[in-house]
Point group: C2
Chain length 352, copies 2
DNA sequence: GGTCGATCTGGGAGCGCTCTCATGTACCGA
DNA sequence: TCGGTACATGAGAGCGCTCCCAGATCGACC
């Protein structure tokens, strides 16, 4: 009796959003049948299906995601985890490309993208807790550092996860998508050597990231292959400012540098700024090669770089994740995209 | 009895995530008390609170968001709606800045950011349906066009919504944050006039966006104020390529143009490309003014532009939204940030 | 004609949480 | 000593959905 009063009171203010129950009533079927009709409609007669479809339209019914996910244990959302101290990383076109690719892959799905930026100020474990808390069906980790220790935690949690960029510990069976960074570094070295440059230097990314390490290793292997001595190494942080500072240090150590490979386009731009400020011409005095190939601001000196199909990689990562959510535990090989040298004016005096 | 068998079977594979019930048992209190302790702890004795806190730690308890939101009707997530046909808009630093700002505002909240990109291929109403479906507690709409018709729909739905950039219909009481685009356009005109330029032209954004319209109106008002004739108008789309094409059209119409105001930095860059290709020097032959001031690629010609505090605006929008979710219906005035002229080399021959 | 299988349907439990309400306990002033 | 107030607590319902199960319906086949 108390309950009845309750229901009466609650129903009073014109129920706002229709529930499955309302839908079923409108369609003249049971809640169960309505549910089946909504979800793919197996074991539903054509008439019942049609009645439900019509009711959905006339009522403007949308399933309550919370209720559904409470019982299915699926949330229909995945997280894009960006683990960088500074929020300004979003300014890096790399992340824009990643978001573009992931969005594209989710296009025809009803999956939603939750942006998870874990940052310096916040509790680092909070992100992992969130991920383990069953709030998302899977995660794409896009930028992770050695000290994160996330790889193990995520692998242990069993949450479907795909890394963009090789994780530090690949023995855990974590899926990932990567570009062949080693080969990219090597190609840069060979290209500069072939152009007759001999006093070569590189500006690395933060070496707690595999991409930075691989590019450096490849670079050094390329130098050796070309019969050149291991050149100078300056450490950057993938930002333009970092590239500028690193280039200044390089010039201070060896003012005769005639070729620089920066592990990202942004750093290459920064390096060019420093070179010009120091009175060096590019590519006349110093040839510069970047890495990424998705900085397309017009009116700049076209940059020789290593192309990385970031949008495509992100799309692939998302599709891998969806597959992994659908069929967990299936072993999947890492997907490595080839690195491709794109020669432009910053390394070729005669070009342009 | 059947039920018992069920529960037995289900419990078998070591219950994975602890529920509130488990937590209560571990803490030696009832589910109700545990719930109260979790949620702020009013009407909970210090001992009970301590016991629950300890249990949370030892069990690694995380509330099930779906269950919670099923009863509270809150999802603890807000949507960032980006309504652009081309996914590549993400490459525009403007959106990066918006994401940065929103993320910053959500930092100390347990709110999550859901990225909602509605695009050409998809069903346009799908986004609105999603928003009305109660999947998020509120929405920030960042880029909307006249034909969307969203303003009315969203206003009618009662979903807390904040626009970044004035919506077309401000009579609906929709909250928004904007920069004074009119004043920005005016400042650009006055600046170029003061620099002695007389054959002025502008490159607009898509005129189905209020920002583009306001900048054009302000520009024309400024010209009139300076006693100059209404100059040429070319339409762009906020992209570099659009800026290039628009500038080409301007040059074709009047080869003697000596000052151009582009409604975005990206378009200004594109225009400079076209000008240089046509043999014009910047700022010698043609002075160029942009709008945005968040394109900071080093090594480029520093651009005179109208500064727009995008990160701050996005942060403000998010805070407004949070306030609106907390206390719906409270009337809130639009927040308009001042536009500020930043003079750099692209319009000042003597500078640099 | 009766039985079997296939197909469709509805009843009902329960996912994990919050919230209302009734009860229990402690402490105040009279 | 007792009624009253304040606060802490637990029982229980119910949010909207899915899914299991049992029942109903209908041909088809022996």
């Amino acid at each position: 009796m108390n309950e009845q009063i309750h229901r009466g009171l609650r129903a009073a203010p014109a129920r706002p959003t229709p529930t499955l129950e309302d839908l079923a009533t409108a369609a003249g079927v049971s809640r169960s049948t309505a549910s089946r009709a909504i979800n793919g409609g197996s074991r539903v007669s054509p008439e019942a299906q049609a009645a439900v479809d019509a009711a959905v339209l006339s009522l403007g019914y949308t399933p309550n995601r919370a209720a559904r996910s409470l019982v299915t244990r699926r949330t229909s959302s995945i997280a894009l985890v960006i683990n960088e101290p500074d929020a300004r990383v979003m300014m890096d076109p790399f992340f824009a490309a990643v978001i573009t690719g992931v969005t594209e892959a989710l296009r025809e799905t009803d999956m939603q993208l939750v942006l998870l930026m874990s940052r310096a100020g916040g509790d680092p474990s909070r992100t992992v807790r969130y991920l383990r808390g069953g709030h998302v069906d899977g995660a794409i980790v896009v930028s992770h550092h050695k000290a994160d220790g996330w790889t193990e935690e995520l692998a242990a949690s069993g949450l479907p996860t795909v890394f963009i960029g090789r994780p530090w510990d690949t023995g855990l069976g974590i899926h990932y998508v990567d570009v062949d960074s080693f080969e990219g570094g090597r190609l840069a070295a060979l290209h500069l050597a072939a152009a007759g440059r001999t006093r070569l230097a590189t500006i690395t990314g933060p070496l707690d990231m595999t991409a930075a390490e691989d590019r450096l290793d490849g670079w050094q292997a390329g130098l050796k292959e070309a019969g050149l001595p291991a050149g100078l190494v300056a450490h950057g942080d993938f930002t333009p400012a970092g590239g500028t500072e690193a280039a200044e240090r390089l010039l201070a150590e060896d003012s005769g540098v005639d070729g620089i490979f920066a592990a990202s386009d942004l750093m290459a731009r920064g390096a060019i700024t420093a070179l010009k400020a120091a009175g060096r011409s590019v590519p006349g005095d110093v040839a510069v090669v970047g890495f990424d190939d998705h900085l397309t601001v017009p009116g700049e000196l076209p940059l020789t770089t290593i192309n990385q199909p970031t949008v495509e990689m992100a799309e692939k990562a998302a599709r891998l994740l969806l597959a992994d959510i659908e069929d967990p535990g299936a072993a999947r090989e890492p997907v490595i995209y080839p690195a491709r040298l794109v020669v432009r004016e910053s390394s070729e005096p005669q070009a342009g």
